[in-house]
Symmetry: C2
Subunit: 119 residues, 2 copies
Amino acid sequence: MLNQSGDVDRLLHALADPTRRRIVEQLGRGPATVSELAAPLPMSLPAVLQHLQVLTASRIVATDKVGRVRTCRLEPDRLGVVADWIAARRQTWERRLNRLGEILAQDDSPATGTRESET
Amino acid sequence: MLNQSGDVDRLLHALADPTRRRIVEQLGRGPATVSELAAPLPMSLPAVLQHLQVLTASRIVATDKVGRVRTCRLEPDRLGVVADWIAARRQTWERRLNRLGEILAQDDSPATGTRESET
DNA sequence: TCGATAGTTAAGTAGATGCTTAACCAATCG
DNA sequence: CGATTGGTTAAGCATCTACTTAACTATCGA
């Protein structure tokens, strides 16, 4: 596993788990304590804690402990980092399709093959 | 691991690996054969094949075998599925912030506590 | 101060993941 | 035909992951 772009990597890894996505979705509706988050989930508290560690490591979630209760909230725009990565990929993809479309429209006789990725 | 929303799940899982993201990025610049994809990657061909299996299972990548050469291309808008999931989360998040902002602007005396997630 | 509540830490485990090497098959090419 | 090229399959292995239970700490409330 080669690890460039650690930020996107940690983010996507964090979101790749259904349980963690559920936590993110719940926090999207407002802050919650650890046990509030754990309540609807079909697993032990320590398991939830471990998911929270992954989420805070990727900085999607921030937590704040007051007495003995830790409150979790969504970090402002960490989802934007992933959104940006995706947007960038889609853009180069669409640009490529446009170029390809122009080339095909320009001329009806594709003399030098169909492999536009060369040149 | 509870598995709802299998589509987003498979997609995010596929994208959570750096090697697979590299493959997606390369295919964004145009179709490529299996060995063209494998060439820049520091691993064996079978390993690349396994990554391709994950990518095709999530349907980000489609492949087409002609003689003995298999050509891979990006599937039109599977990244959009992930983008949509993220967009939805961001939207509820921002709506919540707006509601919260209105409430705070409306009145300066927060008599009934700071826990806006109730009610 | 005692007990319940909220969370934390540690250690162990079954199964998934990301690789490897060693065959193997099928389409070209000389 | 026989060798090469491009890909595929199978098996094995080290590591990571998502849990578990048990034990422990710290705060709060009576």
